[in-house]
């Protein structure tokens, strides 16, 4: 894939070069007024190589942000499927093909030396303060427990402690099982074991694993998030812990799903702007474009990912806001994890969780 992207980028560059040459040749004979008109109000040029995970989320970005941006500025945003080896190298300051790429909050926070800072007015005010200067096109997802509403007619689990109570709420639980994908596993276990949200960090991993062991036999593990839909609908799992987008997908498919927002985790994410970016002016303009409340409201309605600009909630209807993790109505219920600590201890968390999974 990496090779493919390079080839594709080379091809794009080739096409761009051809276009520029053609334009230059075309302009050579024209008078000054014509070329002034062509440049319009924008002095941006070229393209932006934008690396994300594709799928419907990328399509929503294209519709909510990129199409309009290209019409306005003439800069094409070229979406490519992100490759771990490339973006991780770029976080470490190496050269790479991406002008802007998806990066978790923990990764971004631990590599700020190699990232560019955004101007004040382009920063999302709903992001954690230390993260704001470094996130382009920020969005927020939730990690929550959810179930098909019929599963618990008298009301389902209210807290993570309830989630661990297999007598009160019987049934198998769907849980992240891909090697290294610890998600919120340790935080959830510690909360269920009675640790107060403010005392979670530093995470007591052995204590969390001891708590997880108590329900291991009641867990069914998924390798990829979309499996959760299959597990819930087929009755193979009674409750799931996953990113809230999967519940949204089930709702869109006509299922009656309950998402437990209480003690759900708010996870900020977005795109990192590397110092080696090939087109920094255009990326900066795109960052401002994507922080616009109305465009972000459009993206929020399409995906139900939370916005990073608080003004967005003035532009979206109540019923949409009810399914967005960081909407004002959930403010007193949801929890925030410590991105800095998680970033600094990433490798320990990963090896510990992989070892716990392998049992």
């Amino acid at each position: 894939m990496a090779g493919f992207i390079r080839v594709r980028r080379a091809a794009m560059a080739g096409i761009a070069l051809t276009l520029v040459t053609a334009l230059a040749a075309g302009c050579a004979g024209s008078d000054d007024t014509a070329s002034a008109g062509a440049s319009g109000g924008s002095d941006l040029s070229g393209e932006i190589i934008f690396a994300d995970y594709g799928g419907p989320t990328n399509e929503s970005r294209q519709a909510a942000y990129f199409d309009g941006f290209q019409d306005e500025t003439g800069v094409e945003v070229v979406s490519v499927a992100i490759e771990d080896a490339i973006y991780m190298g770029m976080l470490d300051g190496e050269d790479g093909d991406y002008d802007v790429f998806q990066s978790s909050a923990a990764e971004t926070l631990t590599h700020t030396d190699n990232l560019l800072e955004l101007p004040e007015e382009m920063r999302g005010d709903l992001l954690p303060e230390e993260l704001r200067p470094y996130v382009v096109g920020g969005f927020v997802f939730g990690i929550a427990q959810g179930w098909l509403t019929d599963t618990f007619p008298d009301g389902g689990p209210q807290t993570w402690a309830d989630f661990f109570d297999t007598e009160a709420f019987p049934g198998t639980r769907a849980w992240p099982g891909a090697p290294g994908s610890f998600d919120a596993s340790y935080e959830i276990a510690l909360l269920a074991d009675g640790v107060a949200p403010d005392d979670l960090y530093p995470l007591d991993i052995p204590r969390a694993e001891a708590k997880l062991d108590t329900i291991r036999d009641d867990l069914v593990f998924y390798q990829a998030y979309p499996e959760v839909q299959q597990l819930l609908v087929s009755g193979s799992a009674a409750i799931a812990v996953t990113v809230t987008g999967q519940y949204t997908a089930l709702m869109n498919a006509g299922e009656d799903v309950t998402i437990q927002w209480n003690e759900a985790f708010v996870v900020p994410s977005g795109f990192a702007f590397p110092a080696v970016s090939g087109n920094p002016d255009a990326v900066t303009a795109l960052a401002g474009w994507m922080n616009d409340p109305e465009r972000q409201a459009d993206f929020t309605e399409r995906t139900l990912y939370g916005p990073v600009n608080s003004e967005v909630f003035d532009h979206i209807p109540e019923d949409v806001a009810a399914n967005v993790v960081n909407s004002p109505e959930h403010e007193d219920q949801v929890l925030h994890w410590d991105n800095q600590w998680r970033g600094e201890n990433y490798e320990d968390l990963l090896t510990a969780y992989t070892a716990w999974l392998a049992g």
Partner: protein, 292 residues
């Protein structure tokens, strides 16, 4: 007929000693070059790259690899799993190959079509297919329910028992094809001779058929063993994370931890460990001598 199973052992016979009639020694030497260049590019180059990558930190990646708590256990688990899959596949594959050759034409076609179709289908798709079969209220539960045999949801998904059928199914063609090829090149007159001398079917099989297909059974088995070391998604999905193979641990190092050096060191340890296992097995069972 060239099959994946027979291609590998015959590669050893390329030495110019038995050169085709009408070719000179010099011509034979030139014939050696294409396979040598291919192996250098397809096998040697990536392996050297992997070794270099694993040594980037001055060899500390090997110590780090052994320090990763899930690694040693998953390495052992992977080798044991590969042996189990190999044995099951050899037994089932030999039976399948015999059945194909002994069947009437229509059944032979159906058996072969099933085998080839499964080869053409992505391993991910097949693993998800098995998942739909094995889920507590999946297709097996539904099928048993038709006969009133399933009272409560079956517990097969994400158990060790649940993953082996899928793994054997994935590997079956690589054991069947060499055996079939050996059976088809069997001289029928030998079977007739055995019958004429009064041997029953069992004795004919033991004394005439079996010795002639044994090399193919073994080479198919070795192929399945080596390929089984690379299992990743099938055991994780169907056997649960408790059956995590070394590929899963390597993947976590490469893609999540961003430590390609550790991932490379783990891969080298896997390849090295496999070679040691193979050499010991070769000493004990003389596998390579029985290759065709």
């Amino acid at each position: 007929m060239t099959t994946p199973g027979t291609a590998m052992p015959r590669a050893r016979g390329i030495a110019p000693v038995r050169r085709p009639p009408g070719t000179t020694a010099a011509e034979s030497r030139w014939l050696l070059w294409p396979p040598l260049v291919f192996f250098a590019l397809a096998l040697g180059f990536p392996l050297v790259t992997l070794v270099i990558q694993s040594l980037e930190g001055g060899g500390s990646a090997y110590i780090d690899a052994l320090d990763v708590p899930a690694f040693a256990g998953s390495l052992m688990r992977t080798v044991v799993m590969a042996v189990v899959v190999m044995v099951l596949t050899m037994v089932l594959g030999t039976a399948y190959g015999l059945a194909v050759v002994a069947s009437p034409a229509w059944l032979r076609f159906a058996l072969l079509a099933a085998l080839i179709l499964s080869l053409w289908t992505s391993i991910m798709v097949r693993s998800f297919g098995w998942m739909l079969l094995e889920l507590p209220r999946g297709a097996i539960y539904w099928f048993l329910g038709l006969f009133g045999l399933a009272d409560e949801p079956i517990e097969l998904y994400q158990t060790t028992l649940g993953m082996y059928p899928a793994m054997v199914a994935v590997m079956l063609p690589f054991a069947v094809l060499p055996v079939m090829s050996a059976l088809q090149s069997l001289d029928r007159e030998q079977l007739n001779a055995a019958t004429i001398f009064g041997a029953g079917p069992l004795l004919t099989f033991r004394a005439v058929t079996w010795p002639q297909i044994l090399p193919s059974v073994l080479s198919g088995g070795v192929l399945v063993f080596v390929m089984s070391l690379g299992f990743y998604v099938t055991p994780l999905l169907l056997g649960g994370p408790g059956n995590m193979t070394v590929s899963g641990v390597i993947n976590a190092q490469m893609n999540q931890a961003n430590r390609p050096d550790i991932g490379a060191a783990m891969s080298i340890l896997l390849v090295g460990g496999t070679m040691i296992v193979y050499l010991i097995a070769d000493r004990l069972f003389r596998v390579s001598e029985k290759w065709g």
